[in-house]
Symmetry: C2
């Protein structure tokens, strides 16, 4: 079991160490990369040797950060993990597991952190690991310059959906203000992180909107995509996943459904609800599962069969909550 | 010509006045309504009589604000305008023009403010009129409670695209932090303001996406809407305005064009650019104007004529910046 440490102790460990390997989680996002990038620059500013290792390639979206990636010329003497909640999340490529077993310090904000590191600085009230890291770097005695500010802002902005998510607190905004004062180029960063959509993404959105149908007095909205449409559009999985929030985002909709045909012809159904209705209850009746607001299931058979089956369960659930009159 | 006043003077005027009429701009958005709502609540807290008047109905999206709307029982003794940059922007319904001619105090953040009021408190560095109003209310000696904070947060969040736009500064985030501490229910507000789209909005987006075309190796993207489509969709003006950011948001696009047919058949063209290309230069050649990244013009004639004219100017501008080889 890990030892919980405060910021002072974490800073002491980092200041006493050298040849520091910084580990990110797999499928890296702006928070784990921003956190690693900021820490790398801060350690470099203290004259230390450091490098970053991730199981997956770092998306080109983040190539404005000056990161030194781990290679064979680097021999780690101290291992720190950033924004990684459990050992499984390190992934298994690039020899990451070799170091993942011996993480000396973990800096994180996930309440679910499993405590795999020797010592853990955990702040579950922080909206992003970068919010924690901003305090760590200040306490390390490193002035936050524009490059470090860019990294930290990236993590905070991406993990909060640009200050939209419920995790955003007054402190999140205070840290953002501080980073802007330190020179974070938020105009360029926001344009890059939030205002650019691929052509493929727009094309699949157009197709999805063409399929949009409403049911049960507008309390349920459904979109569907065939396997051919998905393949032809060339949209990567993560962007396709984003689309599942579309039907639920429509005014008055309690249950949003996204039906995606799989290669074998069956339909994968994503269920998103706005609070009252239990998405997981709907999914469970069809052999699926998930959370109360986001769940999923799979139905074999053609589109008509899938539609009929899922709408029947949605109807029952809406009736159960008194959102629909029983016939 | 107006007299520029500082916050202290503006506060003095408001504190000395009573029976205060607060005017919003037409096609009201979150900033003008949030600003009016916050000022109304603050004046009420000081025991004053106040009411709000707008040329257009206040969208139901904002119905969580407790606003007293102007009616015949109210006789104004002092008129204050919030977030209204020029006298034309008051609109001409609800008898607004009667008061628009005699605005004693204007509180605004538009650098383009025409100076129509007797006195103007203008802060062009503020991301929203609500950012200015937050300071005014504090100086009025009214504690910012949760209801006032909700109003002010609404204006700041909507006018900055939830802290995404270039107008967002360190101070914008500091004010947001302060409003959250004061009890603004940002979770509920963000869900309502940013995660909910009307059916009409989605329908017009679908139509716009169907019209999407790319030009000049994908450096220019264009969408267009006919007058019939706009009227049939029933989308309010402000939501339609939002759509103009769509073509520019596509990866690789330097110039995004939105062509909206007017009632008389002519086309209103919105030009959005991503930094290099000058939108205003393009618009000026067609008798329009605006800013370097957002400009507009109007072209009489059918769609083919409008398309040809605007694309010709875009081509020249792309060539001028070396973004397109000359033929």
């Amino acid at each position: 079991m890990t030892e919980s440490v405060d910021r002072k102790t974490a800073v002491l460990r980092l200041r006493s160490a050298d040849d520091i390997l910084i580990l990110c989680h797999k499928n890296p996002d702006g928070d784990t990369i921003g956190c690693a990038g900021a820490l790398y620059l801060a350690l470099k500013a203290l004259g230390k040797n450091a490098a970053i290792l991730c199981s997956d390639p770092i998306p080109s979206l983040y190539d404005y950060m000056e990161l030194r990636q781990f290679d064979q010329s680097f021999t780690p003497a101290f291992v720190v993990a950033v924004d990684v909640a459990s050992i499984q999340l390190f992934g298994d490529r690039n020899n990451v597991q070799k170091y993942a077993e011996h993480v000396q310090l973990c800096i994180d904000h996930h309440a679910s952190n499993s405590g795999y590191a020797y010592e853990t600085l955990l702040d579950p009230g922080a909206a992003a690991a970068c919010e924690v890291m901003a305090g760590v770097i200040s306490d390390m005695g490193v002035p936050i310059d524009a490059s470090i500010a860019d990294c930290l802002y990236t993590g905070i902005a991406t993990d909060t959906g640009c200050f939209r998510f419920a995790s955003t607190t007054a402190r999140t905004h205070q840290v953002a203000a501080h980073l802007i004062e330190a020179g974070a180029d938020v105009e360029r960063l926001n344009a890059r992180l939030f205002e650019s959509r691929s052509r493929a993404r727009l094309e699949i959105e157009r197709i999805a909107l063409e399929s949009l149908e409403y049911f049960f007095d507008g309390r349920c909205a459904m979109i569907y995509l065939t396997w051919d449409q998905i393949v032809t559009s060339g949209v990567p999985g993560a962007e396709l996943e984003d689309l599942t929030s579309l039907p639920r985002s429509i005014e008055g909709v309690e249950v949003g459904l996204t039906l995606r045909q799989q290669k074998d012809g069956s339909y994968k159904i994503s269920i998103r609800t706005s609070g009252t209705v239990d998405a997981c209850a709907i999914a469970r009746h069809l052999g699926g599962g998930g959370h109360s607001r986001a769940a999923g299931c799979e139905i074999s058979g053609n589109l008509d069969i899938a539609r009929f089956a899922i709408l029947e369960e949605v109807r029952k659930e809406l009736e159960r909550w008194g959102l629909l009159e029983r016939n």
